[in-house]
Amino acid sequence: MPDGAPPILEVRDLRTVFRLRSGDVHAVNGVSFDLREGELLGVVGESGSGKSVTMMSLLGLLPSPPAEVLGGPVTFEGKDLLRAGPEAMRAVRGGRIGFVFQDPMTSLNPVFTVGFQIMEPLRKHLGLGKRQARARAAELLALVGIPDAGRRLDDYPHQFSGGMRQRVMIAIALACDPKVLIADEPTTALDVTIQAQIIELMQELRQKMGMAVIWITHDLGVIAGIADRVIVMYGGQIVEHAPVDALFANPRHPYTQALLTTVPKVQGERVRRLAVIDGQPPILGQFPDECTFRDRCPYAFDVCHRLNPQRYPVGEGHDAACFLNDPGLAPQRPVLEVVDG
């Protein structure tokens, strides 16, 4: 999509630490990325790689204590979100940046009507009166494809199915016409057909409303279909960042390669989960001084145990945090072929 578009969200060196009684957990370790106007940025990575914590840190949605968000700046519309006051942050949340969460079954308040919950941000951010807010809420419900929207405003969340509830969540997130929509695994909890419907809906809405989207998912198949650029996260860091085509055609980080082999192939049998991706992302007790993937990496060599790789540019808008991409460091560099059976 728009390639040279200016960034509307700039994240620099974001770091998040949970200060727990059992010790610190470094969940986000120096994440930097840009989000450009109108684009769809995919964020992938295994469970526990820090995707959600990164996005919630941006908006100050983590409970503090235990969470402590450091680093930055996170620049959005000329403001550093990490240093904005609570009032300014509330104006951004729900007003300028919408958020859709993973589990639609629990993300709506069970004791308030759906209409009330959509009207809340409308009244707060746009200052609409009761009647206007209600009319707008009905429009929004219709927009996200809920039939008989006007009537359903007075229903409670439990009267909606999972897919319907996720549509309601999307309506809430889009209520105030945000510049950015962050969708944290919006379809993971839904079954496949509903998933496809929600993805289609999001695509359509993005075209209509022109906002930029950050889409977090485990599902590389989805990313391939909708993203403009992709960020791959591991151990609270960005290990690879590339335009979507480049990522699938030429992954430059062993972790990305391993992830890609776990994608079901269109034809032929499902590729077995790679042996190299055995194990789990680390839980980091301190800021990583060495490569976080080294213990699971088939190519790890001495440097990997001593230093944390920077993000090496490997192509147009494409970088990977792996020493194999450093011509000066890599030992007889094993040929990183595209794992593509």
């Binding site: 729900g94 919408g98 958020f99 969460f101 308040n109 004791v111 707060k124």
Partner: protein, 335 residues
């Protein structure tokens, strides 16, 4: 909801009848003789005559039937007569207290205000202080306020009311002389000074009961708030840009109140029970005191009636709790 309530009320009838029967049989089996406090000089024939006058020579089922009839038919008629000036109950025998030789219900009605004043205001006060304390303790979990609140409610909950009662009497009545130690039932509130006196004599018993109730309810409130504050919908509310006040007092509170309201409703009858002890300690001449004296005097009709009324309250407030639950939680549907 209405059909549910009616159905539950109808279902409550056999339950209550059964409870009444059990109470009656238990009391009948209990040792003790209503004639025990009569002078020993009364000759046996007269004694027998008196027993017959009380209907004690009848078999159990006749006596039970009579009590049922009097309680469920005659007493309501008396109330109707009283309200509308009719005379349906004329000539009908009412449930008579053996010790006072007058209708049980009249005595209960006489004693009810004392209990309601003391127990009722203590419960309301307890709830009113418990809810904000529970909210603040949850929002500021582990803060100094929360720690102090936890300590006080542990004390309030684990130290029995007869102990706190006596302790307060010793400190505030005996040593400081601020409050009277005995509740004056005869006191009529007619002007400001008698009102002040009423407030002063209520202060200690109300405080003791309120502390006890608040200790329990504030814990429930805190736990319920904490449960809800980690729910996903709270994060959604924050992500919508709602301020903390709205998040806590609207989104979290509304959900947290559902179980707490149930606990409050279910607690009402047990408060009457718990007041028995407090009434003894402070000499409040209410229903609790009435029950104790009736037990001591083997006044079976009085004990039977009071116990049964407590049972009715329990069944009733169970229903109230269920109905409130249904009103507060839209996910619950009764039909």
């Amino acid at each position: 909801m209405l059909t549910f309530t009616i159905r539950r009320l109808v279902l409550a009838i056999p339950t209550l009848l059964f409870i009444a029967l059990v109470i009656f049989l238990l009391l009948d089996m209990a040792p003790g003789d209503p004639m025990a406090d009569q002078p020993l000089t009364i000759p046996p024939e007269v004694r027998e005559e008196m027993r017959r006058a009380l209907g004690l020579d009848q078999p159990v089922y006749v006596r039970f039937g009579l009590w049922l009839y009097q309680f469920f038919v005659v007493e309501p008629l008396v109330v109707i007569d009283h309200l509308f000036g009719t005379a349906y109950s004329a000539g009908q025998a009412r449930v008579i207290s053996w010790q006072f030789k007058s209708p049980v219900m009249d005595i209960i009605v006489q004693r009810l205000p004392q209990t309601l004043w003391v127990v009722g205001s203590a419960y309301m006060l307890g709830v009113l202080i418990a809810i904000p304390i529970g909210i603040v303790s949850a929002v500021r979990q582990y803060s100094v306020f929360d720690q102090i609140g936890t300590f006080i409610s542990m004390v309030g909950f684990s130290v029995p009311t007869f102990f706190t009662g006596v302790l307060l009497i010793v400190i505030f009545s005996v040593n400081l002389g601020w409050f009277p130690s005995i509740y004056d039932t005869q006191l009529r509130v007619t002007d400001w000074s008698s009102f002040g006196q009423q407030v002063r004599q209520m202060a200690l018993p109300v405080f003791v009961l309120a502390l006890f109730n608040a200790a329990q309810i504030s814990r429930y409130m805190r736990a319920s708030m904490l449960d809800n504050m980690t729910q996903d919908y709270v994060r959604t509310a924050r992500a919508k840009g709602m301020d903390e006040r709205t998040v806590v007092l609207r989104h979290v509170l509304r959900n947290s109140m559902i179980p707490v309201v149930t606990v409050i409703a279910l607690g009402v009858p047990s408060v009457f029970g718990g007041a028995i002890i407090t009434e003894q300690v402070f000499k409040v001449n209410g229903l609790g005191a009435l029950l104790i004296t009736a037990i001591n005097a083997n006044d079976l009709p009085m004990v039977q009636t009071l116990t049964f009324i407590f049972a009715v309250l329990i069944v009733l407030f169970n229903l109230v709790a269920d109905v409130l639950y249904g009103i507060l939680d839209p996910r619950i549907r009764y039909d």
